[in-house]
């Protein structure tokens, strides 16, 4: 089981290709918000960019907080999401300790599902998929 990691964000040039790819391919949206991974500049363009990825907590507090079973723990960490069961209560986002879940204006949550479809769109290999337990220290 693999998870998405962002080990080389110091290489990020701020193109948003990863967020746009996630929104396009996973959520069928044109967006840099409604994506599992979002990029922000930390203090303007004269400093670095930062990603806000799901860290694949195990157990995942967002899954534990979900009252309807829309979020379930994923084997190895992170969550499996069933949007049809979601009542837009926002409990998942409140429970996330690293602000990795985005709620759109309708309250719909967006979180990384660790599918890796964003990875090939990064021009500088900032992102990678790694086997759980085989991550670099």
């Amino acid at each position: 089981m693999k998870v998405l990691r962002t080990p080389r964000m110091e290489r990020c040039i701020g193109c948003h290709s990863c967020s746009l790819a996630c929104a396009r391919l996973v959520h069928h949206r044109l967006s840099w918000h409604t994506a599992g991974l979002r990029i922000a500049s930390s203090g303007g363009l004269s400093t670095d960019f930062e990603a806000r990825p799901c860290l694949a907590c195990d157990p995942a507090p967002c899954a534990d907080a979900c009252p309807t079973g829309a979020y379930r723990r994923r084997r190895g960490g992170g969550v499996v999401v069933k949007k049809a069961l979601c009542i837009r209560c926002g409990s998942c986002a409140q429970a996330c300790p690293v602000d990795a879940i985005y709620l759109d204006e309708r309250g719909e949550p967006f979180v990384c599902i660790h599918c890796g479809r964003c990875v090939p769109f990064c021009p500088h290999e900032c992102l990678e998929m790694v086997e759980i337990g085989e991550e670099s220290p």
Binding site: I13, H16, R29, L30, H33, G43, L45, S46
Partner: protein, 581 residues
């Protein structure tokens, strides 16, 4: 959002209120350059001066913005303080995607705010906020404050002007995200005349995509073409500064106010030197994986005992030519120091550098002295130029105020028109020969990007004026299609007509896709009709003597050929200006 019309927010700064307009014409003008011209025809006043409060400043994106890679630029349409006519300036950064996600095809800003103000727009926002406390604040300090005042890191665009723009200088730029600019023809002054210090665009909306696999598959194909080949290597590797050495070796680099086209020792400001010793990192416009923005650094010891400050400064070929070779400055760090000063006051860097080059030669010839320039100007004296830039941006005296409205205006008052390097506006960094000189002097934006005359010079050896003029018109037509989408011109090798048509088709713009060749002709004519309506007369454009005195790689400039080419190109422009759009 994909729609058959344009969704345009029209803001009146006087009242602080706006309205959404549904403007037809998607299949007629596409967006970008075409949309800006269409909106100027609707909201502009060709017979009024540039600083009439009713004149609009327009920011427009295109049908492919955000949907495909490198569709990442915004077109600004405005009445230019430089020549008092309709003008366009283009910029990267995040403004294009921010407008897309604010669900706006264009933003039209009219009126004059009662106090210095900041306009904030987004998918769910419209505010005009008093920022009188920012009066005189430089571009970098303004950026820091605006970021704090209007949260949205990474998904917001901040456009702002410096002191030069605030006082309406005709060479003031609009800074975008610190490292990009709507640079030329004084759009910064146009914002200043509206009492508008900044525009913050919050990209806080999102949209459904077309059903099916066609769009994501085509995206992947285009993305691979743009990233998997070495097509973009020259832009993200050394970047455009690679041209410095190339042009110098060709004897086509404007040096020391175009008194020559080659320096014996250019290594100190060669692109390779910038990359090796000054480059901190690359940055990208939102939606572009190329990352062509090169950021170097300057550092200064502000106190004894090794107390340093450092600042980051973007560089490219044009800024290096304008503040390096043109001013006889031969060291990369000194160039970055001058660029830093230009950024702060918010001037167009080409105009600033070329203007100071003229001032330096005018000083050498005794036409002006320190009573005008305040600091003594000598080719190569970077420290003096940094001070002069501050005077130029802030308009410290009558001389600098005039020079910041354009070199030709200063030369008219003080003499030295013969060696003012002005081709419609201050020349770009290519002394390649007759075709470039004519193309910038008469071109729609007076920009090297209008029609690539500099590239034609390097291919053409036959001196066939008719063929050269045909090339300029055809190249402009190709480019106006790209700037109506709005693509970065670096991607022109990938976004051919057929590829653009496929992209549009995949999004559901079938009708638009089918009429691209006609559309390019229409938009080209529409833009020229606005130049005509606002007073452009190609016969009144001066090509100063310096351009026929200088020797380029082709030898001495051929005055007869230049005149013949000018006549040919003028005839074609006149035909465009009168063609029904």
């Amino acid at each position: 959002m994909i729609r058959d019309h344009f969704r345009v927010l029209v803001v009146d700064l006087e009242t602080g209120r706006g309205s959404l307009a549904s403007v037809p014409g998607r299949d007629d003008v596409a967006g970008g350059s075409g949309l800006a011209a269409l909106l100027f025809r609707r909201y502009g006043f060709p017979d009024r001066p540039w600083d009439d409060p009713a004149q609009p400043v327009i920011f427009a994106i295109g049908p492919l913005t955000g949907y495909f890679p490198l569709m990442s630029k915004t077109v600004c349409g405005f009445m230019s303080p430089y020549h008092g006519q309709y003008a366009e300036s283009h910029a990267g950064g995040r403004s294009a995607l921010a407008l897309r996600f604010a669900d706006l095809d264009a933003l039209v800003i009219a009126g004059r705010a009662p106090t210095l103000s900041c306009l904030v727009v987004g998918a769910r926002s419209l505010r005009v906020r008093d920022v009188a406390f920012m009066r005189g604040m430089d571009v970098l300090a303004s950026g820091k404050l605006l970021r704090r005042m209007f949260p949205g890191s990474g998904h917001r665009s901040i456009l702002r002007i410096g002191p030069a723009g605030e006082r309406g200088a005709a060479t003031a730029c609009i800074n975008v995200e610190t490292y990009r600019h709507f640079g030329r023809l004084g759009c910064g002054g146009a914002l200043g005349a509206k009492n508008l210090k900044a525009v913050v665009i919050l990209g806080d909306g999102d949209f459904s995509l077309p059903e099916g696999k066609a769009y994501p598959a085509l995206f992947r194909e285009v993305h691979e073409q743009l990233t998997a080949t070495d097509m973009m290597s020259k832009y993200h590797n050394i970047g455009t500064p690679v041209n410095v050495t190339v042009l110098n070796e060709l004897s086509a680099l404007p040096c020391r106010n175009l008194q020559r086209t080659r320096e014996e020792h250019i290594g100190g400001i060669a692109g390779e030197r910038f990359a090796r010793d000054t480059l901190l990192r690359n940055r990208a416009c939102a939606g572009c994986p190329v990352g062509c923005i090169h950021i170097g650094f300057v550092r200064e010891m502000f106190q004894q005992e090794n107390q340093w400050v450092y600042r980051q400064v973007a560089y490219d070929h044009e800024p290096i030519f304008a503040t390096g070779s043109m001013l006889g400055v031969g060291d990369a760090f000194q160039v970055l120091g001058i660029l830093d000063a230009v950024e702060r006051v918010g001037l167009d860097v080409i105009s600033a550098g070329v203007g100071l080059a003229w001032a330096t030669e005018a000083t050498e010839k005794g036409l002006i002295s320190e009573s005008e320039t305040i600091v003594p100007l000598r080719f190569g004296d970077a420290a003096a130029y940094r001070q002069a830039v501050e005077h130029l941006g802030r308009g410290s005296n009558e001389f600098y105020r005039l020079l910041s409205d354009g070199t030709a205006k200063a030369a008219k008052a003080y003499g030295g028109e013969r060696f003012a390097c002005v081709l419609g506006q201050e020349m770009a960094g290519y002394a390649t020969g007759e075709t470039f000189f004519v193309s910038q002097a008469l071109g729609f934006r007076h920009s090297h990007l209008d029609s690539a005359g500099y590239a034609y010079d390097q291919k053409d050896v036959e001196k066939d004026a008719r063929r050269a003029a045909d090339f300029l018109v055809e190249e402009e037509r190709t480019r106006v299609l790209l700037t109506s989408m709005v693509a970065c011109l670096f991607a022109r090798g990938v976004y051919t007509g057929p590829v653009l048509a496929r992209c549009l088709d995949s999004l559901g713009y079938g009708t638009l896709a089918a009429r691209l060749p006609d559309l390019a002709r229409d938009v080209q004519a529409l833009r020229w009709s606005l130049r005509a309506a606002t007073g452009f007369d190609p016969d009144t454009v001066e090509i100063p003597k310096r351009f026929t005195e200088v020797r380029t790689w082709r030898g001495k400039v051929d005055e007869a050929y230049l005149g013949e080419l000018r006549r040919e190109y003028t005839a074609r422009i006149r035909a465009l200006m009168t063609r029904p759009a």
